[in-house]
């Protein structure tokens, strides 16, 4: 069992998402940076869809009532066990009674903590991913007790090369979205040439990007959207939909991020800059 001493800024249990219920309006949810989450699970021999803790900007402080084997990936947090620094992207053996905490990440924005056996939390509609209105809790809070599962399926621990994301690259690769064609040449040029910065009102639902200025376009009828869809709003704000995105939306869908770029974007912090690169 793990006792939560401090929650961090926004920590939650996530797996690869909740599939099969989007037709009734239930978001997919799931880890924001699937690359880092999968790496954490692989390191300790968990199946890649095993639920992990995702934490943002400020990590939680956790008390381990029992010894455990964990791995931490994603943003470059400094990991401390009982005050001693532990490495990222490899196995960490946690002693009984140890306290784990983090200092702010040097690079990146979201960290992932995988544990051998996974977290034994409620499965709702086929997934452990926390989401308001679906699971009991939408995030991990102070004094929560998180149960650890017995490693039912012990895979051989994979020796994987530490292969974290490249946090430096500004490039966000996108496909043209369904409504890209309705944009005028001036907006297309701005989207191609401008550098955009991440707004602080960004969360698991959407990454918000300002800087296009007011734009004129016809509204569209509400249509399907998915994580990675870039919506253009009349104020010129771009909403890049993330894991907790709604299933349908009424703004023009101008781009669709590649999966790799969605992972990269999940690691960008407010005021960090990005540029869009259209791929075909």
């Amino acid at each position: 069992m793990i006792r939560v001493l401090k929650s961090g800024l926004w920590s939650s249990i996530q797996d690869n998402g909740r599939f099969g219920y989007r037709s009734i309006g239930v978001p997919v949810s799931g880890v924001m940076d699937a690359h880092s989450a999968a790496l954490a699970n692989k390191l300790i021999g968990n199946p890649v869809n095993t639920a992990i803790i995702e934490f943002t900007a400020m990590g939680p402080e956790l008390f381990f009532e029992k010894s455990a084997v964990i791995a931490i990936t994603g943003a470059e947090f400094k990991v401390m066990m009982n005050g001693a620094e532990k490495p990222l992207n490899t196995l960490i053996y946690i002693e009984t009674g140890a306290i784990l905490n983090f200092t702010a990440p040097k690079k990146g924005w979201r960290g992932y903590l995988a544990i051998q056996g996974g977290f034994d939390s409620d499965v709702v509609l086929g997934s452990k991913s926390m989401y308001q209105g679906i699971t009991n809790k939408s995030r991990i809070e102070k004094d929560d007790i998180i149960k650890v599962g017995a490693p039912s399926e012990i895979l051989k621990t994979e020796i994987v090369p530490s292969n974290p994301l490249n946090f430096e690259s500004k490039n966000i690769e996108v496909y043209m979205g369904p409504e890209y064609g309705i944009l005028d040449a001036e907006i297309k040029e701005k989207l191609d040439k401008n550098t955009f910065s991440i707004h602080q009102n960004s969360n698991r639902m959407a990454t918000q990007i300002n800087g296009l200025g007011e734009v004129q376009f016809d509204a569209i009828l509400t249509a399907p959207v998915q994580p990675g869809t870039v919506q253009l709003t009349p104020s010129g704000t771009l909403l890049i939909l993330m894991s907790d995105a709604q299933t349908t939306g009424g703004y023009p869908r101008i781009f669709q991020l590649t999966k790799h770029s969605l992972n990269s974007l999940a690691q960008k912090r407010p005021n960090e800059q990005i540029v869009f690169k259209i791929v075909r």
């Binding site: 037709s23 009734i24 309006g25 496909y175 009828l221 509400t222 590649t258």
Partner: protein, 238 residues
């Protein structure tokens, strides 16, 4: 069928009908959606339908190009697949001002009495085109033109689950507490979405809704019956 088929990212395909809200498009979409569910089980994760589109979400192992060309041929065939016959779900609504925060406002803007407003709102069969926005939120057609009312300029931070609203040319039910900008004209005690139920969602695309006006007293009685598990929802065949 006048449908365009194109990739929507690397693992999804979008089928678009001409942009319109109409019943014949809706019926075609229901039929094609049902056909895709049976014909593409091996590559399919799930589909999402809206007024004029189907998003087909594919497994990452599926070949996108192959699926696009298959679906192009698929939509050219005539899909007279029998879609499960829709149901009419009777939703009891209390239009009393204690729940209907904006009913007086909407009535004034439409030059109607509260009573006429309620009659106009409770009269039609509202087709459910699809669910989206929030878990279990139905996008309905069929609101009487006299009731069309612009959304509130400043959305409320919290609208109670079960609230019935009018936003522009649409009416709908909030399945859960949420912020929202629609004008609230009533409330239902019925739970539209309950993850602990046998089925999480009460309503589905292809069903219709009929509202039935109830008193505050009946609202409380139904609330109690739902709590006891003795309430029987009225569902008719279409």
């Amino acid at each position: 069928m006048n449908v365009t088929v194109r990739p929507f990212g690397a693992h999804a395909i979008l089928l678009d009908w001409p942009a319109a809200i109409d019943e014949s498009t809706h019926q075609e979409i229901l039929a094609v959606n049902a056909a895709i569910q049976t014909a593409y089980t091996e590559v399919l994760v799930e589909t999402v339908i809206t007024y004029h589109a189907i998003a087909v979400y594919l497994k990452e192992t599926a070949s996108l190009a192959q699926c696009v060309s298959q679906l192009e041929n698929f939509v050219r065939k005539n899909h007279s697949v029998p879609v499960a016959k829709g149901r009419v779900v009777i939703i009891p609504v209390c239009y009393d001002a204690c729940f209907a925060l904006d009913i007086a406002d909407v009535a004034a803007k439409s030059n109607l009495t509260n009573e006429t407003l309620i009659n106009l709102h409770a009269a039609p069969l509202y087709p459910i085109y699809f669910l989206g926005f929030l878990p279990g939120f139905p996008y309905l057609g069929g609101l009487d033109k006299r009731l069309h009312t612009p959304r509130q300029e400043t959305p409320r931070l919290q609208i109670a689950a079960g609230s019935i609203g009018i936003g522009g040319s649409q009416t709908g039910i909030y399945p859960s507490n949420s912020p929202g900008g629609w004008n609230i004209i009533g409330k239902t005690p019925i739970k539209l979405f309950d993850v602990n139920g046998d089925l999480p969602n009460l309503l589905k695309a292809g069903d219709c809704i009929k509202f039935r006006s109830i008193s505050v007293l009946e609202f409380d009685k139904i609330t109690q019956e739902i709590h006891n598990g003795s309430y029987q929802l009225k569902i008719n065949e279409l």
